[in-house]
């Protein structure tokens, strides 16, 4: 207890300059990193691009709005950290499932990685790239190694890899998120409906699931992407279509188990409608499974999008997969594909870390695997 108190006391001074640092020192890595990152990036922005920010801050331009967002996030993080260290911890706090997930060190690192890439893809292009409207910045030479002018070097077509990396982050993460969430939505709805209703609905839905799970979906997706001209939304839709069966199967198993529980019978006896039981009582009780499945679906969707682009079958616009493809062999020009490849792995690892932590918290049997 004493060491905690000392951290808290010394923390006030520290958190004025480095919000989040006291929390990291006290072992709450996630909360600390989540507060520290916007703060540090806001300072970096003010130091490196002071002229840009000062000229655009009041304007309604993208740059102005993005800087405002970053500064607001940094201010929030600062206020939260200061408030957090100056209030004594409440007795008995920190028992809730969500708090336990955030305080799991590995999940914390995962969440921090996800926030980092979300921030980078949203705020990076307006704030970090030169402002010329076309943003078709060609350089004097191809295959330049990373330098101050080109943080990730240049590629064979003499374009700035950092610029392509940021664009690719938007494409890959955006389509991955859209497709993963879409697949999760379909899977959860169908799985819960089938498991909760039972009877022929269950049999039909599960037969479809069996069929789709056994199909070599990615090979068919490759053929599909080769034959059809896919836009971002259709591509996300088809990737989502690959994701739903796995989720439907997990959620259905959970719904079947929950539908037999006594509280469901009790709700029925009270005359609560079936739909209300399903949405207000069964699904919330399956949230752990749903969350794990959704995180894994997003991870999978990211990998599929990157894979298709790697084969040259994705969207025409840049994607991390495309960057990796253009990078070709890793040496001697490792910077072309290297950053995208490593970031792809990092994001998927982060999603897996979060999913593992959620599973440990919600699944009572998880004690065995820890």
């Amino acid at each position: 207890m004493q060491s905690v108190a000392r951290h808290q006391r010394g923390g006030v001074g520290l958190s004025v300059f480095l919000p989040g640092a006291p929390q990291i020192l006290a072992g709450r890595v996630a909360e600390g990193l989540l507060a520290l990152m916007p703060w540090l990036s806001a300072i970096l922005l003010l130091v490196l691009r002071a002229d840009l920010v000062s000229s655009q801050l009041g304007e309604g331009s993208t740059v102005g709005r993005a800087s405002m967002a970053l500064l607001a996030a940094a201010g929030l993080a600062w206020a939260w950290s200061l408030r957090d260290v100056s209030t004594p911890p409440e007795a008995g706090a920190g028992q809730g499932a969500w708090v336990r997930i955030v305080r799991d060190p590995w999940a914390g690192i995962g969440l921090a990685i996800l926030l980092f890439f979300a921030g980078l893809s949203l705020l990076g292009p307006p704030l970090l790239l030169p402002e010329d409207p076309g943003r078709t910045q060609t350089t004097e030479e191809g295959f330049l190694p990373p330098s101050m002018d080109h943080p990730m070097g240049t590629d064979n077509a003499k374009s700035d890899v950092f610029e392509r990396f940021l664009d690719g982050a938007r494409v890959t993460l955006g389509i991955g998120l859209l497709a993963g969430l879409g697949g999760a939505l379909i899977g959860v709805t169908l799985g819960a409906w089938a498991g909760f209703t039972g009877g022929w609905v269950d049999r039909v839905v599960m037969r479809c699931v069996d069929f789709f799970i056994a199909l070599p979906k990615l090979v068919l997706l490759i053929a599909l992407a080769a034959l059809y001209d896919l836009g971002p939304v259709t591509l996300a839709l088809f990737i989502a279509f690959v994701q739903w069966p796995a989720l439907a199967r997990i959620v259905r198993a959970e719904a079947v188990a929950l539908a037999q529980r006594e509280f469901v019978h009790a709700l029925r006896a009270f005359g609560v409608s079936e739909r209300r039981i399903l949405f207000r009582h069964v699904l919330p009780n399956a949230q752990g499974v749903i969350l794990v499945g959704t995180a894994l679906a997003v991870a999978n969707a990211l990998l599929i999008e990157a894979g298709l682009s790697f084969l040259g079958l994705g969207l025409d616009s840049a994607s991390w997969g495309r960057l990796i493809k253009d990078g070709g062999a890793l040496f001697p020009h490792w910077w072309v594909g290297g950053f995208a490849g490593m970031s792809l792995v990092l994001v998927v690892v982060a999603l897996n870390l979060v999913a593992d932590a959620v599973r440990d918290v919600f699944d009572p049997r998880a004690d065995v695997t820890v």
Binding site: P216, V219, A223, G312, A329
Partner: protein
């Protein structure tokens, strides 16, 4: 068991039919001229003369020629079935050796982790398997290629493994000629797939080792090795068989990517080249072959599981 096998076989036939139908639908609804090219190419000169066949007629033709093992002919590659079959051994060699490596890695690492649960080694391996499990096959392949081929070349040394292809120019005369070309691609698949198997094996082993019969085996004074392998691993391995069925599509898709990275002239690379060369017959033939391979692999995994665990025959539907 027999009735289970027959039912399972029937499901596999339906699945194979479904794969073929999905492939047909992909082509039929595709924009452009591809569809008439593909659907009529098997029938020679009909293209110019007769009217466009309707959906039902074309579908019937397609299924009929499939049943005869006819995948049509293409200008670029001739008889598609023969063209793909010539490349099948390279894909098979890759998939089988990748699978063997994956099981060896996965089970080995998983058992080691379970035996040393909670130690630093266990934690490090857990982190390592999460990373390997998250990495796409093509990226792992590029990393391995970079480390063993391109980095040595950049430093002016001989690469440790041949650059691309499946065999030395002029063809492989013995297995020893063939294996160097196989090492990195198989290793790639082994790492990607093995990470998942390791994660599963670790969890299943820990669960098995927590059972009462393991405690009583230890109480009887059996050696730790014997407890681990006879009592722990045997229980843990059984469901792994069905897990392999689940991994099969991953293995096949992985083969497409790995063949692309290492320019192995298997079916996956044939499909990629077909896309570039607008060779629709080869693309669809490859998709069909992968589809049927997945169906057959699933069938084998299910039958093996039913044979290994007789309770399954009655318990599992379909």
């Amino acid at each position: 068991m027999l009735s289970y096998a027959i039912r399972r076989l029937a499901v596999a036939v339906v699945l194979a039919f479904g794969v073929a139908t999905v492939c047909f639908a992909l082509v039929w609804f595709a924009p452009g001229d591809e569809r008439s090219d593909l659907l009529l190419s098997g029938r020679g000169a009909v293209v110019d003369t007769g009217p466009e066949p309707g959906l039902v007629e074309a579908y019937g033709d397609w299924v009929g020629s499939l049943l005869r093992g006819d995948l049509g002919t293409s200008e670029r590659s001739g008889n598609v079935a023969r063209w793909l079959l010539a490349r099948l051994p390279h894909t098979l060699a890759l998939s089988v050796s990748g699978l063997v490596l994956a099981v060896v890695f996965g089970v080995g690492v998983g058992v080691l982790q379970a035996a040393r649960a909670g130690t630093v080694l266990d934690r490090l391996l857990t982190l390592g398997t999460v990373v390997a499990y998250s990495a796409p096959a093509f990226w792992v392949g590029i990393l391995l290629g970079g480390a063993f081929i391109h980095k040595p070349m950049e430093l002016g040394m001989e690469p440790l493994f041949p650059l691309t292809g499946v065999a030395p120019p002029g063809g492989a005369t013995s297995l020893l000629d063939y294996i160097p070309y196989l090492v990195l691609p198989a290793l790639t698949l082994g790492i990607v797939l093995g990470a998942g198997i390791a994660r599963y094996t670790r969890a299943a082993m820990l669960e098995a080792l927590a059972q009462d019969y393991v405690r009583s085996a230890r109480a009887r004074g059996l050696s730790e090795m014997r407890v681990l392998f006879r009592h722990g691993l045997r229980t843990a391995l059984l469901p792994l068989i069905s897990l392999l069925g689940v991994y099969l599509p991953v293995l096949l898709t992985g083969a497409v990517f790995v063949e692309t990275v290492f320019s192995r002239t298997g079916i996956g690379l044939a499909m990629m080249e077909a896309i570039l060369g607008q060779d629709l017959q080869v693309l669809m033939g490859g998709a069909l072959m992968f589809g049927f391979a997945a169906v057959v692999g699933n069938l084998i995994a299910d039958l093996l599981y039913g044979w290994a665990d007789p309770r399954i025959g009655d318990a599992v539907r379909g």
